[in-house]
């Protein structure tokens, strides 16, 4: 591969990587901090993308649509966690197997429901910034990637600041470390976790809108994103927000280099390959506790 091509691949990879970080921050919270086996996270992302698609058809900008849908996703997240906690977490034994099967079933239902509602064809959105591109010296960057990059960075940074700068945010981090200590401070760990899971699910609305801005979506896309999101969340070191950004960029660059050198048909395997590598070599991730 020539030097220029590699440079282009790295720039594209960084843009893509920030987007991957944005679709994974919710999982970093739900799985990384709260230890919920949220295998349905990517399915919720795709659901968010279809939400943006539906609103876009009545003329709403996809980003605005994502923002509008966020509260609904947040409330849905609260409800899912309330249910999950009541049925699985509080009962203890066997929660692992059943919790996983539960979220797997949810993901599967979301996927099939989307097929029934929208069909298996790819769907895309319209917006002023889609289809145009931006010249940076020799290379042309699609404007939609830049928009996604900006919003993704904003989402990740805001969430990072929220977790380290607010009382609730610090409580969420504390609940991940030591539930008992939090209870001693007078906060209800279950409520904190529910709130955090709501936020994690809420990010799926905006991140889903980014998803459909970056690429056309189909109902089965969620499965591919199981690899990408879990790769980022695990590589980050479970629950680390700066780690999520770094891990996203690593994955973005890896995918874009493979894409340029071996062709697009190999790209789906990159995230999963990287994920297996991380699990085998350093399961605690880059910024692991």
């Amino acid at each position: 591969m020539s030097f220029e091509l590699l440079g282009d691949a790295i720039v594209a990879g960084v843009l893509l990587g920030c987007f991957y970080a944005a679709v994974s921050v919710g999982l970093s919270v739900a799985f990384g901090l709260l230890d919920v086996p949220q295998i349905a996270h990517p399915a919720f992302l795709v659901l968010g993308a279809y939400g943006a698609y539906a609103l876009n058809r009545i003329g709403i900008d996809p980003l605005l649509a994502g923002a509008l849908l966020t509260p609904a996703f947040f409330v849905a997240g609260l409800a899912v966690h309330r249910f999950y906690h009541a049925v699985f977490e509080s009962r203890g034994s066997d929660a692992g197997l059943r919790g996983l099967a539960f979220f797997f079933g949810i993901a599967f239902i979301v996927e099939v429901a989307l097929i029934l509602a929208f069909g298996v064809d790819q769907r895309a959105v319209d917006a002023a910034y889609i289809g145009k591109s931006f010249a940076l010296g020799e290379m042309r960057l699609p404007l939609r990637m830049l928009v996604a990059f900006g919003v993704a960075l904003l989402l990740t940074v805001v969430l990072t600041l929220y977790l380290s700068g607010t009382f609730t945010g610090r409580a969420i981090k504390a609940v991940a470390q030591d539930e008992g200590a939090l209870a001693l401070m007078g906060a209800d760990p279950v409520r904190i976790k529910r709130w955090a899971f709501g936020i994690a699910t809420g990010t799926c609305a905006l991140a889903g809108a980014l998803l459909i801005i970056v690429t056309p979506v189909e109902p089965g896309l969620g499965r591919l994103y199981i690899g990408r999101t879990f790769c980022v969340a695990v590589l980050a070191g479970l629950g680390s927000m700066p780690g999520t950004l770094v891990a996203g960029i690593i994955l973005g660059i890896a995918e874009s280099v493979v894409l340029t050198s071996f062709g697009a048909s190999w790209a789906p395997a990159v995230a999963f390959g990287l994920l297996l590598l991380v699990l085998a070599v350093r399961p605690a991730g880059l910024f692991g506790r």
């Binding site: 203890g92 034994s93 066997d94 506790r289």
Partner: protein, 250 residues
């Protein structure tokens, strides 16, 4: 009164040498050495977070130390996984009882019988009768076919003991097996433990209940902040000013 080191017993059953264990930046155990002769009864005391459970985990193999070595009956077991240590005679109980929740009491006890005591017999001889014998010894025979969820706290502790005994231990490591029990129940469990000792089993017991420690131990070790603060006879250790400071404060 003896500090750090203590008299070295020759032909020790268990020799812990310079064990250190860190969790991230936190040092849970710092260069701890300890020797036990066969048949001894050792009590371990110390405030919460002093490294007692970490030490037990290192001895039983649930954790591996960052430095130091552990020898059992002359064999270096430092790098052995927990199940191999169980197979050569190190059995333990857990601070929070961990029964096999989906199995009856008899099946719970059958697991170590099959995997330790009878692991060399080809078809792992029918262990049901033996499991029931052990449960009878603990006074649990009436509940042999019940699930652990149906047990009271004291019965759960006895199940932990029965399961540890089924592994035919030469060294039994008990982690707060009496916590949360009534005085009468403490005496009952203490009786069982002392009986085992008289049958020749070497026993290490972590306990907060001083009455039990005083009655049980031939020797007491007090841990504080991952180090051995004091050791000696139970009477000496409780009279130690350092120990009193740790327990009662300045």
């Amino acid at each position: 009164m003896v500090r750090e080191g203590g008299p070295q017993v020759s032909a020790a059953l268990l020799e812990v040498t310079g064990i250190t264990k860190r969790f991230g930046g936190f040092v849970a155990l710092s260069d701890v050495s300890l020797a036990l002769r066969a048949g001894e009864r050792l009590g371990i005391i110390g405030p919460n977070g002093s490294g007692k459970t970490t030490l037990i985990n290192c001895i039983a193999g649930a954790l591996r130390g960052d430095a130091g070595s552990i020898r059992f009956d002359g064999v270096d077991v430092t790098r052995w996984p927990a199940h191999r240590r169980a197979q050569i005679g190190i059995a333990r109980s857990f601070q929070l009882p961990r029964p096999f929740a989906s199995m009856t009491l008899a099946e719970n006890v059958a697991v170590p019988l099959e995997y330790v005591a009878h692991r060399h017999s080809l078809h792992r001889a029918d262990v049901g009768a033996e499991a029931r014998d052990l449960l009878r010894k603990m006074g649990l025979q009436a509940k042999a076919d019940a699930l652990p969820a149906a047990l009271t706290q004291v019965d759960l502790r006895k199940l932990e003991l029965a399961r540890a005994l089924a592994a035919r231990p030469r060294l039994l490591v008990l982690d707060e097996v009496m916590a949360g029990l009534s005085p009468a129940e403490v005496d009952e469990v203490l009786g069982i433990v002392l009986d085992l000792s008289s049958e020749g089993v070497t026993i290490v017991m972590i306990e907060h209940i001083m009455r039990a420690i005083m009655k049980f131990s031939e020797r007491v070790v007090c841990l504080d902040a991952g180090r051995i603060l004091a050791q000696g006879t139970p009477q000496d250790v409780v009279r130690d000013t350092g120990v009193q400071k740790v327990y009662i404060g300045d």
